[in-house]
């Protein structure tokens, strides 16, 4: 299933999310089971299936990581079932440093500032990777797409790290 086609959008990483939401609502109006409350069982079943697909498409395209994964899968690179591996040593070193910083937050004199600082560094780093990804993912060359896939893997690492930061934050307050 090509979700860009479903939503009549050109396949692009830099997606107009307001337009996506608009189309989502239009499609929901057309296929939502509530529009078939009085129809036959068969129509109801189909409506449920189509709406599930529209919901899935919307969620996939809404978030940059899943959107990138979807774009890659349309080009034959499937990341969804692999266990993420990144071989970039610099990146892994940076990850370890950040993880240590996370663990030390509770011992800090000013945990608030430490958390704020990490939020900022994570955000900057994510922004950097995302803009690199935006340049590479449109390519037709296999080697460039492999690089794009690697950037997606890195973003997944960052997502986990961000979740851990939020958990640490919750535990403190």
């Amino acid at each position: 299933m090509n979700y860009f086609e479903l939503f009549s959008l050109s396949p692009s990483f830099e997606l107009d999310t307001a337009l996506l939401s608009e189309r989502y609502r239009e499609l929901q109006r057309a296929v939502h089971p509530d529009k078939f409350a009085n129809a036959s069982e068969q129509d109801k079943r189909l409506a449920v299936q189509h709406t599930a697909q529209v919901n899935d498409g919307y969620n996939t395209l809404k978030h940059p990581i899943s959107r990138a994964e979807h774009m890659l899968s349309l080009k034959g690179i499937d990341l969804s079932h692999e266990s993420t591996t990144v071989k970039d040593t610099m990146f892994l070193m940076q990850q370890m440093e950040w993880r240590e910083a996370l663990e030390e937050i509770s011992d800090c004199d000013d945990p608030d500032e430490a958390i704020e600082h990490l939020h900022q560094s994570f955000g900057e780093y994510r922004g950097e990777i995302t803009s690199q990804l935006a340049q590479k993912i449109g390519s037709e060359e296999a080697s460039v797409l492999e690089q794009a896939a690697d950037l997606v893997r890195k973003l997944k690492f960052m997502e986990k790290l961000q979740a851990e930061l939020e958990r640490t934050e919750d535990a403190l307050f």
Binding site: F7, S8, S10, R29, S40, E41, Q42, L46, H50
Partner: protein, 620 residues
């Protein structure tokens, strides 16, 4: 004089005919029914002018009594008088007894562990008791509106899990009433306030009823209601305020043990004091024991507030969590809607206003607002307002998952995902030559199976023997718009399939449903047969009506041969439906469904294309 309209066979009769549909708020303490009449939605009163029906049922030698008639006996005959049955819906007896050992009922367990209330008139489960509450409401509606109902919308707490939703739907089907939709109570409230028209932004619905608390965060955008997040507690409500006060009074009067009827009397008195304290600064509570001894104590607002403060705090914590799930800050919330009688308690209003930073909406009676919203939705769903662009997008309140090795839960659909949703997950075998696989479906947020709610168990058999890890078993979860789950499992290489409509572990067995249907019909086999025939005939009419409408609208999608096949199937069904053979009608419907399958799919695709027509400018 108006002329009677006679439709051609196979064509829909009178498309503009007003269809009768109502909204029902099946509440913990009170239930209501509402309808849209002459464009205005309002609750319907019974013969003596009362709108609310107390959700109390008494089973005695005198038969079944519902509402005030039953409530009168709740103190003197607690064993046979069931109050707040909604709290027992979809729960196992052991769940219930673990939570509250002091319930004044005589329980036994059904085959599936469902609680059965042993009464003078026999054993009844929560689904039957709920059906007994629905029955007078449906009767009242049919009498007031002057005809049979084509469908109802029943509201449920947004927090209700699959078992509780299934139970509610089964209660309606015991009465032979068609459920158009199970609607989340907070969404209904937002509709009642007309927040779907004109406003855009985020609203919070704070719903504190007798037995449940719900907080929902909704986003409104051009008639579309999107539920961003829901939270709450399905076992916290105004009843708990009564319990807190009753416990306090019992302690300060040093009453070590009370009989079931004395405790009930104390709870009723506590509720009276709570309600009086919304207007007065202090109230005298009093209790007369069976032996004639009288106890009295003055309770003031400060004392009462201190007693309920921890409970109110819990609700505010849920609000905070729901906002975080929705990714919304408290000051981004445009409006807060108050629902449920317990929001009349001043401390509740103060705390809600304090948290959201603005005065909540209270202009519609908080006890009726849910039923009114349900009526508006029922009117739309049944087809009375084809031009309405109201659309409700709901989310699933609790994650769904499957048990894996070591009693861990693998989440397949996570909480707050928009429904309907279909998700697939692949599993594999653990041992060489394994030919069967048992699945255990659970619902909840915790990582251990033991901490989640067990929904269903089923087995996929006939997997061809392979090496461990070689089989690919694809398990698909599908949740419909009512939040009800069905699961299918398939081994990919062999195509072996197993599927179930999830019957909650603590639901009814097929046999129990059969018996209950029989009981609810009061007698005889022929009644049931007649009813089944009537149901099939109604379904046949529905299929014919919707197909002819579809042919009129989208007939151009078909070539002549396809159209002819469908026409023939329709003629056959119309002919069979006029006779009294239930099986034959069922078969004819199935055959026609089959013949029109690709037509239905084409139409659906076509409507998707039309929805985005003229918008495809950037699709090169």
């Amino acid at each position: 004089m108006a002329l009677l309209q006679i439709a051609e066979p196979g064509q829909s009769a009178a498309p503009h005919q007003h269809r009768l549909a109502v909204g029902i708020d099946l509440g913990t303490t009170n239930s209501l029914v509402a309808a849209v009449r002459s464009g205005v939605a309002d609750t319907l009163a019974d013969e003596s002018g009362r709108h609310a029906l107390a959700s109390v049922v008494r089973y005695s030698e005198d038969g079944v009594q519902v509402g005030v008639d039953a409530e009168r006996f709740s103190a003197q005959d607690p064993l046979n008088t069931v109050v707040s049955v909604k709290r027992f819906m979809g729960r196992s007896l052991s769940d219930i007894q673990a939570k509250d050992a002091s319930l004044p009922y005589n329980f036994s367990a059904s085959e599936n562990g469902l609680p059965l209330f042993n009464t003078q008139a026999g054993q009844f489960n929560p689904i039957q008791i709920s059906a007994d509450i629905l029955r007078p409401l449906v009767d009242r509606a049919e009498k007031t509106l002057g005809g049979a109902l084509e469908g109802v919308v029943i509201t449920v707490p947004a927090y209700f899990d699959d078992a509780q939703r299934q139970g509610t739907k089964e209660a309606a089907s015991l009465l032979g009433v068609k459920v158009l939709r199970l609607l989340n109570e907070p969404t209904a409230a937002a509709i009642a306030y007309g927040l779907d028209s004109g406003q855009e932004g985020v609203i919070a619905i704070y719903d504190l009823g007798g037995g449940t608390f719900d907080i929902s965060i909704l986003r409104l955008n051009k008639g579309v209601f999107e539920v961003l997040a829901t939270g709450g507690d399905s076992a916290l409500g105004g009843d708990d305020f009564d319990h807190a006060l009753a416990d306090h009074l019992q302690q300060s009067w040093q009453l070590a043990s009370l009989s079931a009827s004395e405790r009930r009397a104390l709870l009723i008195e506590s509720r009276r004091v709570k309600e009086a304290l919304t207007e007065q600064a202090s109230v005298t509570a009093s209790l007369t024991l069976a032996a004639g001894e009288v106890f009295e104590q003055v309770v003031d607002k400060v004392q009462f507030d201190a007693l309920i403060e921890p409970l109110v705090k819990k609700t505010i914590a849920s609000c905070r969590r729901a906002l975080r799930d929705a990714g919304i800050a408290a000051d981004e919330v445009l409006e807060t809607v108050m629902v449920g009688g317990s929001t009349r308690v001043p401390l509740v209003r103060e705390r809600v206003e304090g948290f959201f930073g603005k005065a909540p909406l209270t202009s519609i009676d908080p006890d009726r607002v849910v039923a009114i919203g349900a009526a508006i939705q029922a009117d739309i769903l049944v087809g009375n307002k084809p031009e309405s662009d109201l659309l409700l997008l709901d989310v699933i309140p609790l994650s769904l998952g499957i048990e894996t090795m070591g009693g861990l839960v693998e989440k397949v659909v996570s909480r707050n995902t928009t429904i309907p949703v279909a998700r697939a997950q692949e599993f594999t075998t653990f041992k060489d030559g394994q030919t069967a696989m048992a699945f255990h479906v659970v619902q909840g947020e915790r990582e251990l199976v033991a901490d989640c709610r067990s929904l269903a168990r089923f087995t996929l058999k006939g997997i061809p023997p392979m090496a461990a890890g070689a089989a690919h078993i694809r398990v698909t979860f599908q949740v419909d718009a009512d939040g009800l789950l069905s699961v299918t499992a398939m081994e990919k290489s062999s195509g072996v399939q197993a599927s179930i409509q999830v019957k909650p572990s603590f639901g009814l067995t097929d046999e129990e449903i059969g018996t209950m249907l029989k009981d609810s019909m009061a007698h005889a086999k022929e009644d049931i047969e007649r009813r089944m025939l009537a149901e099939q005939q109604v379904e046949a009419a529905r299929v014919l009506e919707s197909l002819s409408a579809a042919l009129a609208k989208d007939g151009n999608l078909l070539d002549e041969a396809e159209a002819a096949t469908i026409q023939a199937g329709m003629a056959n069904l119309a002919q069979v439906a006029s006779q009294a053979d239930t099986d034959a009608i069922e078969k004819a419907i199935a055959a026609l469904d089959d013949a029109s399958q690709s037509f239905a799919a084409k139409r659906m695709d076509n409507s998707i294309r039309l929805a985005l027509k003229g918008q495809s400018v950037d699709n090169i």
